[in-house]
């Protein structure tokens, strides 16, 4: 249980730092990739303090949910198919299906909130998809290695 919490927290933190760094690099290369519509409009996403706040919120959430996912991973370990990293990958993909794909489908089809759904599932467009995939892959690999 303890190792699950620790592994999950580390997985969440490391993955988050990786994804924030990759998004930052991509923003430097491709310019503003603003996909998040805030109540104040797109303009507020040009404010570095908002980006910083977003990064902190993302990091906190990833550590928090990483710990909970870590506990679940430790609890269900023997029932998850595969070995080592692959086992972690299956677990990570299951979380993705339940958390992102399921929630995204309800958001899109029953609330017509298509953009947040797409962001939730793919993080919109190639750049965010790549960043998202690297986040998930890194996270599950980290969980898998523990």
């Amino acid at each position: 249980m303890k190792s699950g919490i620790l592994a999950g927290a580390i997985a969440g933190a490391v993955a988050d730092i990786a994804v924030i760094a990759s998004v930052y690099v991509m923003m430097l290369i491709f310019g503003n990739i603003g996909i998040i519509e805030a109540p104040g409009g797109w303009e507020i996403w040009r404010d570095p303090s908002i980006i910083m706040l977003l990064a902190v919120a993302h990091l906190s959430l990833d550590i928090f949910w990483g710990m909970i996912a870590g506990v679940a991973y430790a609890f269900l370990y023997s029932l998850i198919p595969g070995k080592g990293v692959v086992k972690g990958l299956y677990f990570g993909l299951s979380i993705w299906v339940i958390k992102d794909v399921a929630a995204g489908s309800y958001l899109a089809l029953t609330m017509m909130e298509v953009s947040p759904a797409v962001i939730l599932i793919f993080h919109v467009g190639c750049i965010w998809s790549c960043a998202w995939i690297s986040l998930q892959t890194f996270k599950v690999i980290r969980i898998g290695l523990k």
Partner: protein, 139 residues
């Protein structure tokens, strides 16, 4: 496994009906159903379409979650209906609370997150109770 492929979709229909009803009740309250055409487009035919979408999603996700329930049956705490309820609440935690927290805190989609969590509670509780009542594992 065969059993769950029948039970999952049945519980999924209940999930869809509860989803449609709870969205109908809570949706306007939180004013989240903002369609591209504005609030006026939410006429009866669109509400029917929306209910149909909710039930279809219920059947799809009910079947998938049912298969997960059957796979992890022994690890879910409780017995009978309570076991199903615990599983339903676990799905609610991952699907709605976890996704809702990301929606609210990293995308500022707060009303959508609130409705996802409130609707989800009723949906997955009903689904879990139904699943726990109907599903009998094969020995």
């Amino acid at each position: 496994m065969k059993n769950i492929l029948v039970v999952g979709p049945i519980a999924g229909v209940v999930l869809g009906i509860v989803s449609a009803i709870s969205s109908y009740i809570f949706g306007p309250y939180f004013r989240i159903l903002e369609a591209p055409g504005g609030w006026e487009i939410w006429d009866l035919s669109l509400i029917r379409l929306f209910a149909l979408a909710a039930i279809s999603l219920g059947v799809i996700w009910g079947t998938i979650m049912g298969a997960i329930y059957a796979r992890f049956y022994d690890r879910v705490p409780g017995k009978g209906i309570l076991k199903g309820l615990y599983f339903g609440l676990l799905i609610w935690l991952i699907k709605d609370i976890m996704a809702g927290s990301y929606l609210a805190l990293t995308m500022l989609e707060i009303p959508s997150a609130i409705i996802l969590i409130i609707n989800g509670f009723f949906m997955w509780s009903a689904y879990g109770l139904m699943l726990g009542y109907l599903y009998k594992p094969t020995k």
